[in-house]
């Protein structure tokens, strides 16, 4: 139990003093980093746009003409880069806070937004759309709809299954049902890939996660839904802290853990399914970001929520920008990149693991 058993962690606490940085500073720095990352990401790409022009175009978008810019640059930013950058920010934001909420709900720092099988369900849904050829008739919308339906369906089934068993250990049953249903839907996806033939590449590309299909069409409602869900989540963070005492411990403080589970799972499922439906099943962001932020600002979910949201947005935005620029003109699926950076970091966190979870 004492710190000598976790030399790495003790070292970080003592010598780097991460926890001593005020959380307000962390949030401020993250917000500035996100703005910088957005600016640079819009400038970079197959055609590199000078940074000052990028800024001018952005001002123009909001109705403030400052200087003349090339029309082609304007079009690239308005039609291609801006929607893509916004999608990356929103998806990263969602995945990180969803992961954080799942970790809090299941009192397990190894939980991810996909712990209840959303990813497997969404993959199966998207694969079904591709194999049935509905994509050609309905366009990209069909793919998003298939993924969204698959993801939410799995969570609904998992939730129903877990409620069959009465008594305590509700969250434990939820996780196990999630694992089982996830495996089942992964099998469905594999079967669909087996059937698919030439579309195989397309399915796999989708599963690995990429933001290549970003456009303006969904952003007018995707962004407000994300913000509203985040605000509602904010009101539950104090109770989520107390859930660290276990379900009965929280109950002794007058909290109803089951209703909290219901509300938070509904919000997380809605947001994650939306993110997955536009970006595919991008891994590791939801697992790693809340961890890293917990090291920086401590376990208080009220601060962890905005910190994870900002950090997740930066993480996915930076990864996506790298993914589309390192092998230009070929794009790497961004999920590959997040896994390449996320997995080693995850191993590092495992080395610091102590009994009862990470933290």
């Amino acid at each position: 139990m004492n710190t000598t058993q976790q030399p790495v962690k003790a070292y970080i606490k003592k010598n780097i003093g991460l926890k001593k940085i005020s959380s307000k500073w962390v949030l401020g720095i993250l917000a500035i980093l996100l703005l910088l990352a957005t600016w640079i990401s819009i400038a970079l790409g197959a055609v590199t746009i000078p940074l000052d022009h990028t800024l001018a175009i952005l001002f123009q978008t909001f109705g403030w003409d400052v200087s003349e810019v090339k029309n082609s640059h304007n079009l690239i930013v308005q039609n291609i880069r801006l929607p893509r950058v916004l999608t990356a920010i929103l998806a990263g934001w969602i995945l990180a806070i969803s992961g954080m909420v799942m970790q809090g709900l299941f009192q397990n720092a190894l939980a991810s937004p996909y712990v209840l099988g959303i990813a497997s369900g969404a993959s199966a849904g998207a694969a079904a759309v591709i194999v049935l050829g509905m994509q050609s008739s309905l366009g990209g919308f069909a793919l998003s709809l298939g993924a969204f339906a698959g993801g939410t369906l799995v969570v609904l089934i998992v939730y129903r299954l877990a409620r069959f068993r009465k008594g305590q250990h509700f969250s434990y049953t939820l996780i196990l049902s999630g694992v089982a249903l996830g495996a089942l839907f992964s099998a469905v996806t594999t079967f669909l890939i087996f059937l698919s033939g030439e579309q195989m590449r397309e399915i796999i590309f989708w599963i690995m996660g990429n933001l290549g299909r970003s456009n303006w069409s969904y952003l007018p409602w995707f962004a407000p839904v994300t913000l509203i869900c985040t605000v509602i989540l904010g009101f539950y963070m104090r109770d989520l802290n107390a859930l660290s005492l276990g379900e009965s411990g929280a109950q002794h403080l007058g909290i109803n853990p089951k209703s909290m589970h219901r509300v938070l799972l509904a919000l997380v499922t809605l947001m994650t399914s939306l993110a997955v439906s536009v970006a595919g099943t991008i891994g590791f962001i939801g697992l790693i970001t809340p961890h890293a932020m917990r090291l920086l600002v401590g376990p208080d979910h009220r601060i962890l929520l905005p910190a994870s949201a900002l950090a997740g947005a930066i993480f996915l935005l930076a990864s996506d920008t790298l993914a589309r620029t390192i092998f230009t003109p070929v794009e790497l699926p961004v999920g590959v990149l997040t896994a390449f950076t996320g997995a080693p970091f995850f191993i590092f966190l495992l080395m610091m693991r102590r009994e009862g979870g990470l933290g």
């Binding site: 660290s244 005492l245 917990r294 009862g356």
Partner: protein
């Protein structure tokens, strides 16, 4: 707070774990619940705290039926600590103690001077001030127990339920917890505590209730209910009880064949 338990039974999966319990605890008393493992002590505590619902009978807190309290109302009057307190993340002792104020605050209300005053008071009572910034997971058993009692006290309860608060603690820390318990009951709090150590229970408790196989065997002042016959009947151990200078010693001899 007065606690009345009237003809309460509880079955888990058709298996009766408590049978027709009748028990009244007067305000300001320390009641020790004793009995062998599996005799139903924890179940009884969970019934009083409202975590479980009796399959028969009623529990009254100050003459109000337990089921009439809303969860938040109940948590303003009653605090309960279970045997194990797993905390999943590295929260500080101070943060944990602040959770004790949740019953008295809405989701939107800020931390007030009154909340701070109470948090400081309970930290003083439980001697946890110096632990405030430590992680709850880095504490020793005794410190941990004190921190959780501080959280429970921050609820400003009139009734405190403790399930084996002295388990795994060394002698000094066991005494610390029981001294604290006595001090709280002297201030008018009602305290019900499940405990295994019969000597400590006899020394500190005002009343003792002995449970065996889900039934209330004896209830009364410790020295009058703890007899050689009762110990033989409940724990299946033959013993010698010696009263000397007002103190009371149990010498267990051997298991009954």
């Amino acid at each position: 707070m007065k606690v009345q338990i009237e003809n309460v039974s509880f079955s888990y999966d058709q298996q009766p774990t408590l049978k027709n319990i009748d028990l009244t605890v007067e305000p300001g008393t320390l009641l020790a619940l004793v009995g062998p493992n599996g005799s139903g002590k924890s179940t009884l505590l969970n019934l009083i705290s409202g975590l479980l619902k009796p399959s028969q009978g009623h529990i009254y807190l100050d003459a109000v039926p337990l089921e009439q309290f809303k969860p938040q109302q109940l948590s303003q009057k009653l605090a309960a600590l279970e045997q194990e307190h797993p905390v999943s993340f590295d929260f500080t002792v101070q943060e944990v103690i602040q959770w004790g104020r949740i019953p008295h605050r809405s989701r939107f209300s800020p931390w007030t001077d009154h909340d701070e005053h109470i948090a400081r008071n309970v930290m003083q009572t439980t001697k946890t001030m110096s632990l405030a910034q430590r992680s709850i997971r880095d504490l020793s058993g005794g410190e941990r127990q004190r921190a959780f009692i501080a959280m429970a006290l921050a609820q400003e309860p009139q009734l405190l339920l403790l399930d084996e608060p002295t388990a795994h603690l060394d002698l000094k820390h066991q005494f610390e917890i029981l001294e604290l318990a006595r001090q709280l009951t002297q201030q008018g709090m009602t305290l019900i505590m499940a405990i295994h150590d019969l000597h400590l229970a006899a020394q500190y408790a005002d009343q003792m209730a002995i449970l065996n196989e889900g039934e209330l065997v004896q209830h009364g002042p410790p020295t009058s209910v703890l007899t050689e016959e009762t110990i033989k009947a409940v724990w299946n151990i033959s013993s010698k009880i010696v009263h000397k200078n007002g103190a009371f010693y149990i010498f267990p001899r051997h298991l009954q064949p």
